[in-house]
């Protein structure tokens, strides 16, 4: 694959090209790295814990070395640990560079091109979110090393235009950092979720029947939104649940915001038709607006000459009242 070939190329020759780019974009006045003098510590060790410890040690040594000899250090595929919802998650950035002044910089190598010095914003955004998690994990290590600091900008390396020559751009990830931090503190601990499940719930794909698995999945609350489709393997399942519950979120988070206290398709359409909804006042601004919207829409459609309505309205059935669960 092009991605792997490109990454290998960027890191070739002891990272000469990578460090040149880094010095050019984020050198902060440091002496340019001299090919052959860049330290590239060996990070191999047994098991993830071993590799995490090896990485931490290498970072500590590099930072100490930096103070004295003004050396550049390149860590290729270091392994970091971060606690997510009470369990350790292992993270492997493409590279981390320790600058001679002791600053640690995350390097992300991506295979999408930077054309005329700009890349697809959605891909850059995804890379920034990913890099922010690495920065966060690195900060946990840096907290225990004197003189160490993690840069809140990362270096994004991509192919230039249509070639496989690398070019780089500095990405400020402060925003992604604060979002990630907040999300991590708000995550319910896995232990707590497990404790809330019925006795004997299992997610074992090998041993459970489809029915048992479905029941187990449904026992965990979900907050389906269409964004899940691109991110989660359970999305079709959750969408089906949300749809059959008539949850308006299935149409998008924004839709939910527009509809105030009305949370189901049935309730919204009933309100629009002029029926009263328990718990929602008849003069609720959303209800009033919906009724006007329905009246205006019907009037406009009636004014259309025969035969223009390519799509006819059919009878439908939507389960009422049910409120979407959250997994």
């Amino acid at each position: 694959m092009r991605g792997n070939a490109f990454e290998a190329r960027v890191k070739a020759d002891g990272g000469t090209e990578l460090l040149r780019l880094l010095h050019e974009r984020m050198g902060a006045g440091a002496r340019p790295p001299v090919p052959g003098e860049v330290l590239v510590p060996d990070l191999t060790a047994a098991g993830p814990e071993g590799r995490v410890a090896r990485t931490a040690l290498a970072l500590r040594e590099a930072t100490g070395a930096a103070g004295g000899s003004a050396a550049w250090t390149l860590l290729v595929h270091p392994l970091l640990a971060l606690e997510v919802a009470g369990s350790p998650a292992y993270l492997e950035p493409d590279a981390v560079v320790v600058r001679p002044d002791g600053r640690w910089i995350v390097v992300e190598i991506k295979s999408f091109p930077m054309i005329d010095s700009s890349a697809d914003p959605s891909k850059v955004g995804a890379a920034a979110r990913q890099a922010a998690v690495y920065v966060l994990a690195l900060e946990r290590v840096a907290a225990r090393v004197t003189g160490a600091a993690v840069d809140h900008s990362v270096l994004l390396v991509c192919p230039r235009d249509f070639s496989n020559l690398p070019t780089a751009s500095v990405v400020d990830v402060r925003k992604q950092l604060s979002v990630t931090r907040r999300q991590l503190t708000r995550l319910t601990r896995i232990d707590d979720i497990a404790a809330s499940l019925p006795e004997g719930t299992s997610f074992d794909l090998e041993r459970c029947s489809p029915a048992e698995l479905t029941a187990a999945v449904d026992a965990v609350s979900a907050a389906y939104a269409p964004e899940c489709l691109a991110a989660c393997e359970l999305a079709f399942h959750c969408r089906g649940q949300a749809r059959s519950a008539g949850a308006v979120e299935a149409l998008g988070r924004g839709v939910r915001g527009e509809l105030g206290g009305l949370t189901t398709v049935g309730a919204v359409l009933a309100a629009a038709r002029g029926e009263s909804t328990p718990g929602v006042a008849d003069d609720d601004p959303t209800v009033v607006a919906l009724r006007r919207a329905a009246a205006l829409r019907a009037e406009a459609l009636e004014s259309v000459p025969e035969g223009l309505e390519a799509v006819s309205r059919g009878p439908g059935s939507v389960p009422e009242g049910a409120v979407a669960g959250c997994r």
């Binding site: 919207a293 205006l296 309205r313 439908g316």
Partner: protein, 577 residues
């Protein structure tokens, strides 16, 4: 999304079928659209893999790249694509009618009318979805700086003859697609989503197959069920029955079918090379041909359903009558096409890598104008779109209950009749708020005077123009009792904002002189940030009739031909396009 469109979505959920968002079609559909369904490899960062292209839905032309990493094969693909597209573009270029254009005379600075040619019609390009539009842009960008052997005998990898030209056209179409309401390059999903609301989210609406299923389910059953089948159903080989509309193919297709076929192709090529002219050569050639045919069949299997879906979508859209003001916007597309034709013919260099500050600002301003204009025109053409504006208080429908003649207080009093209207709408009217109605296709303005005390829903406006020069208003220019009239609080004819200075008068900080002259080429091998040069000469802006200039076309053909070509992109062994 406006509440009224959200309501349409919810109705779609309830009925299991898409619901109309419009009563007319708000985009031009050419009688002979060129449909382009490109495919790219997921793993190779968007290298072209193949395409279906053509104007005949029964017999699309299939173009393929058997090995996407092979530059020669990619070039052959691009050359074929140029062969498929350029004659179509050319076929519109010489059918012209005389038209007038306002220009600023570079010497006197005065505005003068110039007689020019305007193409009677313009070629339209339809792709399946938005990533398809992005890919058109990418192709355009990758081709327009290429050099052919004829342009530069020393160029390391010369491009086939018409490839740079196709790059310029695709770039133009890609840029034009950013102008709201333009119809030169359209995505089928955007077209359908403009006209129907499905019972799914905007994200899911980007899936052409699912979208069509909601609008027109194949068996006439539930759109929702058909959409789910389009999203998920796979055959025994694990392949989606409704492949993604591209350009990226489904990973299951890449891994299980395409990758082995490409491997076989590579092996066949190797053994053919090894056999040279030996006894086995014929056999190996046969093997290579078979491998190639297999790849073509596989790519056709992925692109053909999308091809058919695009045409089916066009059929559905054609059932809607065209909105009255669509032709007006299409005329602007024709100007755009004609303008680019002229720039190519006059030997201008390709579009620069980056717009200079003036051009960028002009584009932005003209797109904002186009957006406002599109919104106004759609509302005027379509009661269902107007309903949304009525809901938000930006328009109202009122029945005339009284007309009282009144006159302005000047030396030569002009008619300023007071119209009393009954309306159940709730327009956001303040003191002297201007309102507009359409009179013979032209806007007539009035200002809000006040509400009748006590009379709920009765409001009074004073007509202020389009009643002729006499003391008595011209025949038919004042509404009569009983007429039902749609009034808008927004202007019907959006005009551009303040004019931007010409390049010559722009300070160098914003891309003006002295950089203009030498900016024809990017510095060789410099840092990426240094690629910002290549700004073409910008003379006085061209003004289209009624000063509604799409700035994308604001540059008249340069009188200075044969500028140095901008530098080509760096080329490496393994580049992807």
């Amino acid at each position: 999304m406006s509440l009224i469109n959200t309501l349409a979505r919810l109705e779609a959920v309830e009925s299991g079928r898409a619901q109309p968002l419009t009563t007319v079609r708000h985009r031009r559909l050419s009688e002979r659209p060129m449909v382009f369904v490109p495919l790219t490899t997921a793993g190779e960062a968007g290298a072209p893999l193949g395409a279906l292209v053509g104007t005949d839905r029964e017999s699309p032309r299939l173009l393929t790249v058997a090995q996407p990493r092979d530059r020669d094969l990619r070039f052959a693909f691009l050359a074929d694509l140029a062969e498929a597209l350029l004659p179509h573009l050319d076929s519109y270029a010489d059918d012209v009618e005389p038209a007038e254009r306002n220009e600023t005379d570079p010497e006197t600075g005065k505005r003068v009318k110039v007689e020019v040619d305007l193409c009677v019609d313009a070629p339209q390009l339809i792709v399946p979805n938005r990533p398809g539009i992005d890919f058109v842009r990418l192709l355009g960008r990758s081709m327009r700086f290429r050099r052919t052997a004829e342009q530069d005998p020393d160029t390391p990898y010369p491009a086939p003859a018409r490839v740079p030209l196709l790059g310029r056209w695709l770039t133009h179409y890609g840029e034009r697609a950013r102008v709201p309401g333009s119809s030169l390059l359209l995505a089928a999903t955007d077209l359908l989503n403009r006209h129907w609301a499905t019972g799914q989210s905007n994200l899911e609406d980007q899936h052409l197959g699912a979208l069509l299923a909601w609008i027109d389910p194949p068996d006439g059953g539930s759109g929702r069920d058909a959409a789910l089948r389009a999203e998920t159903d796979r055959d025994r080989r694990g392949q989606l029955l409704c492949p993604p509309a591209g350009p990226a193919t489904d990973p299951a297709f890449d891994n299980r079918l395409l990758a082995p076929a490409i491997d076989e192709y590579d092996r066949a090529r190797q053994s053919l090379g090894a056999a040279e002219d030996g006894p086995g050569a014929d056999e190996q050639l046969g093997r290579l041909t078979r491998a190639e045919r297999e790849i073509r069949a596989l790519l056709a299997s992925q692109a053909r359903p999308t091809w058919d879906a695009v045409w089916r979508g066009l059929d559905l859209l054609r059932e809607l009558p065209e909105g009255a003001r669509v032709a007006d916007r299409w005329t602007r597309d024709r100007w755009s096409f004609t303008g680019h034709r002229d720039r190519v013919r006059s030997g201008e260099p390709p579009q620069p890598r980056h717009d200079d500050a003036v051009t960028a600002a002009q584009k932005l301003a003209s797109r904002e104008t186009a957006q406002a204009q599109l919104e106004a025109q759609e509302a005027l053409d379509d009661p269902l779109v107007l309903a949304g504006r009525r809901l938000s208080g930006e328009a109202f429908i009122g029945e005339v209950t009284d007309v009282v003649m009144a006159y302005s207080e000047s030396k030569r009093p002009s008619p300023r009749p007071l119209i009393t209207l009954y309306s159940e709408d709730r327009p956001q009217l303040g003191e002297r708020t201007k309102v507009y109605r359409s009179l013979d296709g032209k806007p007539q303005s009035a200002e809000f005077v006040g509400r009748e005390p006590g009379g709920h829903g009765l409001l009074v406006v004073r007509l202020t123009d389009r009643m002729g020069r006499g003391k008595e208003p011209a025949e038919g220019s004042v509404p009569e009792k009983g007429e039902r009239i749609a009034w808008t609080l927004f202007e019907h004819d959006q005009r551009g904002g303040p004019k931007l200075p010409s390049t010559e008068e722009t300070p160098w900080t914003h891309g003006g002189p002295p950089g203009v002259e030498g900016a024809g080429a990017a510095p060789a091998g410099g840092p990426v940030a240094g690629d910002a040069g290549a700004a073409g000469p910008v003379l006085g802006a061209v003004h289209l009739p009624e000063s509604r200039t799409p700035a994308d076309d604001a540059r008249p053909p340069s009188p200075r031909p044969s500028l140095p070509l901008p530098l080509p992109d760096p080329v490496t062994e393994e580049d992807f396009l």
